[in-house]
């Protein structure tokens, strides 16, 4: 492949999803309906008739930030929704969904839990009914959970075979410290070992509540009929009360100096690294401008980072940067990998490029290019029913609406070279950088000491609570 977009694709796409809005010429989001059930569940409906399928996206305040000491709890609770309900024990559930080619996935992210589904329009009653049961009446079967848990434990060990699979979690821990945004979504071997279905039941009872949640349905249906169906299905979901302090709102302590976290992997032939710093929260008014500048710096093929680390020097297959915004804060990171022999050269280059961004800034031509790119690549992000459903739940979660969407192009276009300079100075780090590397310590430890004090851990070990 020419370019491995996958590394950052998720990050970038999700960012773009959040940006949303209107881009090229006549592109408009299709009309949608929204209403709220008496229990507080927000509902979005978008008709799309190109293919006879329907997509569903549900978002609930049940992410890893609520894990407490039990890392992995949110993730396994979400997974265990599919262990069955009273009417649909797991085997029957799997069989029913597979038989009609329906996909229903449940998962947890840092802040929220979610369900996404796609199925043939003709099967809508059956699948919506199943979704309703999964969300409101899961049984958390002990035998099923025991299998899931042992499989998860092996998979957590297997993930340590791949630097790319684990480096993101280490980076979040290193950057956020003991703030809940540092919580490891998948959990760790030690924490997952301690989980039981009782933990899941408790977590479910507190966090899977209609108030604070949203469901979006997009696809081939009649909105009036769908409104009736959804109202009937979900009105009985009991309102809850997510008590306790909102841990995510606690202050995120900022790094005070450069630091290095070196994760030793004895058989590594490459060094995989992130260089990062605090980023922005999703509601930052400069969000769109920051994304445009990041596009230019590390968000596309001709970006400054990829141009220098890949095209000019051949040090890596790909180098990128991205912001990962959450409700109350976020992170920024540069990410790439290189042969262990060129570790120092690649890190130095990445730092040079960051310095060049600050010193040289951007010119009119490069800024125009980034703006055109962001606008031009925008419409395909809202092409499918599943993309639209997911956009609606993101709008709900991050509390933005059409006014924000309709101003997207204006915001992109309104970014001047002068404003771009301010954006760079304000949001792109200059110092107090956080370096996280997975590599062979014996070969690289000495040389990475020049970037800051080094904390060394073993990839095979248990990630610490905070670094």
């Amino acid at each position: 492949m020419k370019f491995m977009k996958a590394i950052y694709l998720c990050l970038f796409v999700s960012c773009m999803l959040l940006v949303s809005g209107i881009s090229a010429q006549d592109f408009k989001l299709p009309a949608y309906q929204q209403f709220t059930l008496k229990n507080g569940l927000k509902v979005f409906l978008v008709e799309q008739h190109e293919v006879p399928t329907i997509s569903v996206s549900v978002i609930m305040p049940a992410g890893a930030i609520y894990d407490g000491e039990k890392a992995g709890l949110a993730s396994l609770t979400a997974t265990a929704l599919k262990h069955g309900t009273k009417n649909f024990p797991k085997a029957l559930l799997d069989e029913e969904l597979d038989f009609i080619g329906a996909s229903v996935n449940t998962y947890a992210s840092k802040e929220s839990a979610g369900l996404s589904a796609t199925f043939a329009a003709k099967d809508r009653n059956k699948v919506l009914n199943i979704i309703q049961e999964l969300l409101t009446a899961p049984v958390f079967d002990t035998a099923e959970f025991s299998k899931e848990k042992s499989r998860t434990l092996v998979q957590l060990e297997q993930a340590k075979e791949s630097p790319r699979a684990v480096i993101g979690s280490y980076f979040d821990k290193f950057l956020y410290g003991d703030h809940v945004y540092g919580n490891i979504i998948s959990g760790t071997v030690n924490t997952v070992s301690g989980l039981s279905t009782k933990d899941l039941q408790n977590f479910y009872a507190i966090n899977y509540i209609p108030n604070g949640s949203a469901i979006a349905i997009a696809g081939d249906f009649n909105s009036k009929e769908m409104k009736d169906a959804v109202t009937k299905l979900f009105s009985g979901w009991k309102k809850g009360n997510q008590s306790g302090t909102d841990m995510a709102k606690q202050t995120i302590s900022k790094p005070v100096n450069n630091r290095v976290l070196l994760i030793n992997k004895d058989d590594a032939k490459e060094t995989t690294f992130y260089i990062g710093a605090p980023g922005i929260s999703r509601n930052n008014p400069d969000y769109v401008s920051v994304e445009v500048i990041n596009t230019l710096f590390g968000g596309r093929f001709t970006s400054m980072l990829n141009d220098e680390l890949r095209v000019n020097t051949g040090l890596t297959y790909g180098a990128r940067s991205g912001f990962s915004p959450l409700k109350n804060g976020g992170s920024f990171s540069i990410s790439t990998f290189t042969a262990k022999e060129t570790t120092e050269q690649a890190i130095d280059k990445a730092l040079e490029v960051l310095q060049a961004l600050h010193q040289k800034g951007v010119d009119e031509t490069s800024l125009t290019s980034a703006k055109n790119y962001v606008k031009g690549q925008f419409p395909p992000r809202y092409e499918t029913s599943s993309q639209l459903a997911s956009l609606m739940t993101q709008m709900f979660w991050y509390n933005f609406d059409e006014s924000f969407i309709n101003n997207f192009q204006k915001n992109v276009d309104g970014l001047t070279v002068t404003k771009a300079k301010e954006i760079i100075a304000t949001y792109f780090p200059k110092d107090k950088l956080q370096f996280v590397m997975v590599g062979r310590s014996a070969d690289i430890k000495k040389l990475v000491e020049k970037y800051g004090p080094v904390t060394e851990v073993e990839i095979t070990g248990e990630p610490k609570k905070a670094f």
Binding site: M4, T53, S162, T365
Partner: protein, 428 residues
């Protein structure tokens, strides 16, 4: 989307327009104004199948060099011009084909055609770019091996299963060949394979066919036709016994790849084999997942694959052993599942299930302009006619339970398989 009506606007074979330029370059067009964007997918009939030892990996490297400068748009200018105009691109190389993909606002289609025509007609291979790009693909190879044991295992199994045919080596190439490709190899490759008559172009999106035709004539018509590339004559001899390979790499539990030799896409058994693969591993209720991962907990993951190809290829089983389980037990359990299908067949319900899944998959594929272009092009190249894509749901419907049992018996037998096991210590 604004134009969406209450009736299904679902694409039909007749919605694909087609024309061929005088130089043999064939275009397929799907008009779709649901978003103001369009794409252009260029399929070239060249891949690692056209290589030989000494130039392994060259097709993929060439794919990279296609972005590194031509007559009008010099080094870096292809990507810079495209991105400046709001377009993005990528490309991929397989054993049989190399595909270039451009995604752009329809309003700048003219520039996209100009960029593509420039590099197809007059690529200029810059020696400095060859050297830096060599580092890039070596890094691409290395990072794939670094991040997953599958790359090493599947490459090794493929090399055992094909001893003479060019599917023997990996698409990425051998490291020593990667270090030694010469500029002359690239130039010859360009002349031989990057001819208008060796490609298929698919354009989907907010463009009228007449406009696509006008741009195609304007930019591509003058590029000269080339003699047909040399045929790949090697036919892999029949396999006469099971082949086994062991690999050592630091992993928690053993990884397993079992590969059976099966026919190419144009073979009548293609559809039955695709459905057999789905019955085995698609979804939690599939035979392999339900029994090996869920019920017996011998594996933490299991999947199968069977992809379209020009020449006979592999039907692959992949599994990761659960902790505390001997990989031989897992391997034997896979065989037991296969044998059960061979002796008892499958149920009508299972068959209906995978047919239903195939139909929903089809809808997903044609929901986006990119899915349309990629699938239409793939069917045109591998099956000789894009219309086969629209016939696929019907072809799958025709497959019977007996067909599934028959292809399992024909191909999934011991003498026809290659088994690869990757684990930390192969002496145990």
């Amino acid at each position: 989307m604004l134009l969406a009506s209450l009736t299904h606007a679902q694409i039909k074979a007749d919605d694909v327009q087609s024309f061929t330029l005088g130089n043999g370059m064939k275009f397929l067009v799907v008009e779709d104004f649901s978003i103001p964007n369009a794409n252009m997918y260029l399929f070239y009939r060249v891949g690692s199948r056209n290589e030989y030892q000494g130039i392994t990996g060259l097709s993929h490297f060439f794919e990279h060099m296609m972005f590194n400068g031509a007559k009008k748009y010099g080094p870096k200018e292809f990507d810079r011009t495209m991105e400046f105009n709001g377009g993005a691109n990528n490309a991929y190389t397989r054993e049989d084909i190399t595909v270039y993909t451009n995604w752009f606002p329809a309003s700048v289609a003219d520039i996209m055609f100009d960029l593509e025509a420039d590099r197809i007609s007059s690529l200029s291979i810059d020696s400095a770019m060859v050297e830096s790009e060599r580092g890039v693909v070596i890094s691409e190879r290395s990072t794939s091996l670094e991040n997953s044991p599958w790359a090493l295992l599947t490459q090794s199994v493929q090399a055992q299963a094909f001893q003479e045919h060019p599917y023997h080596w990996p698409v990425i190439g051998y490291l020593d060949d990667m270090k030694n490709w010469k500029q002359a190899d690239l130039e010859r490759y360009f002349k031989t394979y990057y001819a208008p008559n060796n490609s298929i172009v698919v354009v989907s999106g907010a463009m009228k066919t007449a406009e696509v035709k006008r741009l195609a004539e304007k930019y591509f018509a003058s590029i000269p036709e080339q003699p047909s590339p040399p045929a790949v004559n090697i036919v892999e001899p029949p396999q006469t016994g099971e082949r086994r390979i062991l690999l050592e790499k630091e992993v928690n539990t053993p990884y397993l790849n079992i590969a059976y030799r099966v026919p190419e896409a144009n073979h009548p058994d293609y559809y039955a084999l695709v459905l057999l693969s789905e019955i085995l591993s698609s979804g939690n209720s599939s035979r392999l997942y339900a029994e090996l991962v869920d019920e017996k907990q011998l594996a933490t993951a299991v999947f199968t694959s069977y992809q379209e190809s020009f020449d006979p290829t592999l039907f692959n089983f992949y599994a990761v052993t659960n902790k505390g389980i001997n990989e031989t037990a897992l391997e034997n359990a896979v065989y037991a599942i296969i044998e059960k299908i061979k002796s008892e067949g499958i149920t009508e319900k299972e068959l209906q299930k995978v047919k239903n899944q195939k139909l929903v998959d089809f809808y997903r594929q044609v929901e986006t302009i990119n899915g349309k272009s990629n699938n239409i092009g793939t069917y045109e190249v591998f099956f000789g006619d894009y219309r086969k894509m629209f016939e696929a749901p019907e072809m799958f419907n025709k497959v019977t339970a007996e067909d599934i049992q028959r292809v399992a018996n024909t191909y999934l037998h011991v003498k026809n398989r290659t088994v690869g096991i990757l684990k930390s210590d192969t002496s145990k």
